[in-house]
Symmetry: D2
């Protein structure tokens, strides 16, 4: 039924350059009451760039006019100085979206979404995914609503526009009552900024304060640091904060649910200089490394991380095990999305375009290699191969997450289940595939111990298959299909 789309370029599948990671879907950011609201959002998106590299957008509001600037590419590419100058007003929201391999495929799917409603313009930025999005879309289309994008966020926009309630927050609330799924939203009309997190709090959202008493909403705390905003508190699961001329109002409109923060934020998604729901990410990763060393000790000469994401866990592993930590794999940070892989005989240079080791570094060494996760296993296999080719006598691969055997339906871009190495292979089989001397994953228990900062629960569905939001088989298929169509 999703029949209109922009023309798509030929797939440019580039296995060696593709990161074998789960990818976070988005980052959101909002500012209320600052003379340079859009500039602050720009900086905020910069700090959240790791949460989405496909596209970026900012919407500001001034005198009831929404100013919109959205485009494909990195934050620094999308906004020119004059663009920022035109995004006038004291309120603004922004969004970064994840990177797909495609080219211009998703020209329609830029956020924040904007709509003229009978009650004025609104803008919504969404991190997450609705499990009943496709069904709701079909219903809305049958009622005559017209969709411009293939993003399920637009369902929320339509439901808000259709609501007969008086105020913006009531209409948004009515809309959210009709959807199920994961969302951290930053929304705005001409007078108010709203932040809301789904009842389970699957995706993170924090609240900050500016020097001038203005307010900030952000996916992560690291973006508050950059703009010099004070961390106020996390927006709670199921909480809706409405910020307006009359200050901040906190509401809990939805039936209370158990907190289920995505635990993968601690493993890979969030920046190590952020704290999520009160837990310091860098420290959590280090503790995972410590617990990994305790659960799966090994005699070795050196602990080497797969940079950059494996570094904190490797440090923890090294500290707990007493084996020296070394940066034996160097990452070339100039490798970006525009790299052209030469097409002919020389194309199989593997991971070397990104990773290399100092001459002689691995010769004769027993190596503990620490990486954050194994998805398809393709990259890990190449890295083990490279380390072996460099002379390592043993390569013990230690992974700072449990095996990822189940896809995500809540806003993370994961391969289909059949592509997940852990879904179809035992650890021994995986070890053999990767040609590692040994392979071990942190246990789910060990992971929980590592993020002990808070007593509440997490979503660990990608490891356990235990999905916190009841979802029909059809909804799961819809979600996978939508994700595939977009990429």
């Amino acid at each position: 039924m999703i029949s209109a789309r922009s023309t798509t370029p030929d797939a440019d599948a580039d296995d060696d350059l593709r990161d074998d990671h789960f990818r976070d879907a988005c980052g959101v950011f909002g500012v209320y009451d600052h003379p340079e609201a859009a500039n602050l959002v720009y900086l905020g998106l910069y700090a959240l760039q790791h949460r989405g590299q496909e596209s970026a957008g900012i919407v500001s509001v001034e005198d009831r006019i929404l100013h919109v600037n959205r485009g494909r590419g990195l934050v620094a590419d999308v906004f020119k100085r004059q663009d920022l100058a035109r995004l006038r007003g004291r309120q603004a929201v922004g969004h970064v979206r994840y990177s797909t391999s495609g080219g211009s495929a998703s020209q329609r799917n830029l956020q924040p979404l904007v709509a003229d409603t009978a009650d004025g313009g609104i803008a919504i930025a969404h991190n997450g995914n609705l499990v009943n999005g496709v069904q709701m879309r079909r219903d809305l289309e049958r009622r005559g609503s017209i969709f411009q994008s293939t993003m399920d966020t637009e369902v929320i926009v339509h439901l808000t526009a259709l609501s007969r309630r008086q105020s913006f927050y009531e209409r948004l609330t009515e809309a959210l009552f009709q959807v199920r799924g994961a969302y951290a939203l930053v929304a705005m009309n001409e007078r108010r900024l709203i932040g809301v997190r789904d009842p389970h709090g699957i995706r993170p959202l924090v609240l900050g304060r500016l020097d001038n008493n203005g307010w900030v909403l952000s996916s992560e705390t690291c973006a508050l640091d950059l703009i010099g905003a004070r961390f106020e508190r996390d927006v709670e699961p199921g909480e809706m904060v409405t910020i307006g001329p009359d200050g901040l109002l906190s509401r809990y409109p939805f039936p209370r649910k158990k907190r289920r923060l995505c635990i993968f934020e601690y493993i890979y998604f969030a920046r190590p200089d952020s704290a999520i729901d009160g837990v310091n990410v860098y420290e959590a990763r280090k503790r995972i490394g410590v617990n990994l060393a305790r659960e799966h000790p090994v005699e070795a000469d050196v602990v080497v991380p797969v940079p950059d994401s494996g570094v904190p866990a490797a440090l923890g592993f090294a500290q707990a095990s007493g084996i020296p930590f070394e940066l034996g794999i160097i990452r070339n940070h100039y490798v970006g999305r525009t790299f052209i892989e030469p097409q002919q005989s020389i194309r199989h240079f593997g991971v070397k375009i990104k990773l290399n080791s100092p001459p002689g570094f691995f010769a004769g060494k027993r190596v503990v290699l620490v990486d954050d996760s194994v998805v398809r296993g393709t990259t890990s296999r190449k890295i083990v191969k490279m380390v072996r080719a460099a002379g390592a006598s043993e390569v013990h691969l230690r992974i700072s997450s449990p095996p990822t055997a189940h896809p995500c339906f809540y806003g993370i871009d994961t391969p289909n289940q059949q592509e997940l190495l852990a879904a179809n292979n035992s650890v021994a089989q995986m070890c053999a595939y990767m040609e590692a001397t040994s392979l071990a994953f942190i246990s789910l228990d060990g992971l929980y111990r590592s993020v002990h900062g808070v007593s509440e629960g997490y979503c660990d569905a990608c490891f356990s298959g235990s999905y916190p939001i009841p979802t029909t088989r059809m909804e799961k298929e819809d979600t996978r299909l939508t994700l595939l169509q977009e990429s």
Copy 2:
């Protein structure tokens, strides 16, 4: 209420370079059942480029997927070879839109409009303007419809999506029953191409046939010529033609109205190599020149057109008067929209950037200068000045249209009434303003005699103030406001 818009650059008012003309709003084109439908639409839009230079778009359909490509700029700039290659399918519709001075202001206002409806994707390309568009939009927004553009065409799209009727043509018909105004539409769903002209037939639309028995819809016949299509007939006022697997069906769903084709098509909008409603444009313009010579004879040495639009009337004037025709004003065709006017002391080079005369050409001559219309009068004044400065002893300005004293509400970009020179000045005053020796306009009668090819009526509201579609004062203000906001 139209509160969301893209950021706008500073106005780049460039009086010397701005054409002092009414500007046609759009051109539309559609192809049914050809293996290279989009390529044919591309060529068709090329031939209709004079009807709109701001933006261009093509939508094709294949296997229930709409492929969309729209952008700002000329047809040749918007579409690259690979874009055309991706616009697959045997059906396609296209649109060109008028030129505004603004920069990126109207990124949202690109046609053809596309929507996913419960019944599949539809695409609509519209030439014209709805007088109750703003009111309908307000109503629809109150019902929860979300608008993406500021174009009244989107009202038709929403009404179509909201209709509960079964088939596409029924839903479109139900939508059109609710609007008043001028429209020549080319619309398409995954299986059918529809052409429809408003009950008065204010804007033109023709039907053509391809060699392979495929069908073409076009604003003008010149575009049929380019692609080698056979002119079949004009779509009639109030007629809806539906072209599908079962051939062409003609319906007249609306109450019959008197035909009221925009007479300005013959004066300026249409290309001289087109025929509109059976009347050859080039011949009509020449006959206007003949009648102008008869109505306002003058003794002179030479008849000179203001190129390019004044040429046919000048030829007619010369033939009727026996005064020699000369191309005494040369137009520089390289002057385009990207020209940068140097900013400082030398900026007042007037119309010379576009128009110049051979050395000594006008010296001592009594000149009949033939132009097609006077809008603000600014350009005409400069041309008269240039001709006088070149030595002309007398400059008799002859205009191949009656004085334009009233704005258009049916899809033509005209200045506000107070800016129309003829709205506030007698012919004598206008003559004095332009510093011409004499000034004369073709009479409305003379104009009618010149386009005698058919017996039906025309819309001459811009001359007579007699508007064929009943329009409230509020609607008129709405229309003007909308046009101003977009530009």
Copy 3:
């Protein structure tokens, strides 16, 4: 020996869109002593755009610093507002270069050429071609000079740099003594502007005066008109004018030769609103039409020009013959270099993308079709075909130049001799090829009578094969080869 070149795209041969004309190589322009020198040059190049559409460049000088801006494309595309702002100084020279079909092939071949010499920076803009350029280049390379472009203009730059003379004009003179060929040069160092025309005066150059007593050099007078400069006089064949703080100095450093202005300037190259060596181009073209009518009369119903270049001659033909002039062929001025010809089954739409006729215009008419020249004959043939297909009963083709049977070695881009239709065919054969009812060319005598304004001689080598500059066979081959390599 010309071994280094930028990478070349695949030829994009597009026969239908390629103009079948000789193409002028260049236009030059210079300003001395004006606070906005570069802005004036920008406008001047705009007016000379018809002389070269491939690339454009401006060099200004201020405080001994040369500011350079050159690029591929039309004047309006190459220079942005900020570019002009940076071209500071009271002296500037500019250049437009002819259009080739290639893409980025000629990135190196941009003018004005600039060089740092021991005596400071110099800039040279050149219209013309040196017949001993390749040989001089080989000699200079053997001496150790390094060439950056493949343009023979660079030979003049090197010879100037190598000269041991004191002053700029002496060094340039010494350089020019060593070359043979056609040149109209505008050159500049940090204090002086020099204009020079080769001893035969093959290419034109005029001198103008600004209101502030500043000076202008230009290929044609039309560019003086645009900037409001006063036409002072033509630079004479063999004259070198040096303009500096001490005013203008005229020198005739070379042995006097017979004047041999390229007569094709009157037929096609120059703009009709220019005067070349005292002869008004528009009037000359009209007189050619008059003489063509006298030499080759025909009974017909209508005289129709091939627009735009055939218009003045057609007017003259109509006036002399008494047959009515009509604009029966309409040109689409939006057709530019970026047009993409659809690649598959529909590509053969012939000349219709550029030219079309009003419906029914030609039906049953005996037509005199006036065009300016026949080069390969491909376009003429298609136009005749189109006119016949439109119903003309007779098509009498009248050409306002003699048959072009010989290539040019003096700066005009002509096909090789074997591609020139007139080189290998009688007029009767050509007529048959074009499927015209009759075909006639103006005689060389008639052409001379038409440009009678001055008593001096012309270069008519492309018609007569009589080349004014002695040229060895090797030099001719070199010249052709160079031209081919560049295009």
Copy 4:
């Protein structure tokens, strides 16, 4: 005398974003005898990107034709797939150039330089700087040579072109005999690839071997790793290797000098996964850290590097001192050159756009902060401030290089002496300026001990002021001037 240059944008001085580092001038790479020579060079330049981010270029040769592609920007931005496809041939050389803040200033200064000489095309890529370059340029200009760039490399090109010797290597040798300075060159004519290092071997160059027995020349070994080439050996100081159909010939044409490799390669320039003249860079940096800990021990809770360049030394420091190593400062790798610093009240976000720390990380900690060098000291000061603001009780700054008190004349972009903090301040003063608890630099002796791998000497002029190449005061001023003019 360097008077011609392209227009320059306003300086966009952005102190917070500018790296306070010496910057390496260039990287060079060459391939001989491989069917995809240009593709290999592309990959090689990718691996050498850290040596120059301003511009990149590749020249290949095939059938005596040089194919050239050069442009501003990163390797991945300059070359598109089709560009690489056009760089045909089995031989190619490439170059990356350092990053300047300017915009289009250096369009002329792209390498490899290419010239058509009497003996065919040559291409030269140069890492280094000539101390008598300006004087040689003046002499050559006086002889009539024309310069296209402001790079001293062009002096070598001209001298090569002017040489009367027979073979390419003889001509290049004759040219190099006339210059003094630092150079690692990769040069090529249509049949041979030449690598040469100045007599002191100031800049590095290595030789590698391809699987197919083809040859590679590269600034660093890390680029060999990427393309799977085997490291053969370093090119020796003063050695010229000529690779041709007859294999590799090694010559030592210059009088022997003492080896003086730039020791800063080990501190900062080279990638840690390279080995330079037999010394593993990563290990050298770690040993510097070890020696730094021994020379300047301190009681502290944590050793934190300033990423990325400070990491290996910090690791060494931590291992030697027993103080735990932590990645307490996180670098945002998305910060690139296109970042727009918002202009108004919020611009002083300092180094946070690049660097941030995990929440609470530094609270109450005594910190050893390890950085590689102090140039102006501006960035270090901000980092200390940030660490203090994050709660550190003590900040002990340890620098893995001696104080840099003298500018470089051999190809490294250093500020003028007055801008070098160490040139005008004692360590105590520097410590006070940075508001650090303590500040210490590795001693020159300690540095030498750390790179003990080979017995030969180094250039340490930036620390000691002892310049290995005799240079007049005028030459020093010329060099500084040239570097300033370019940037």
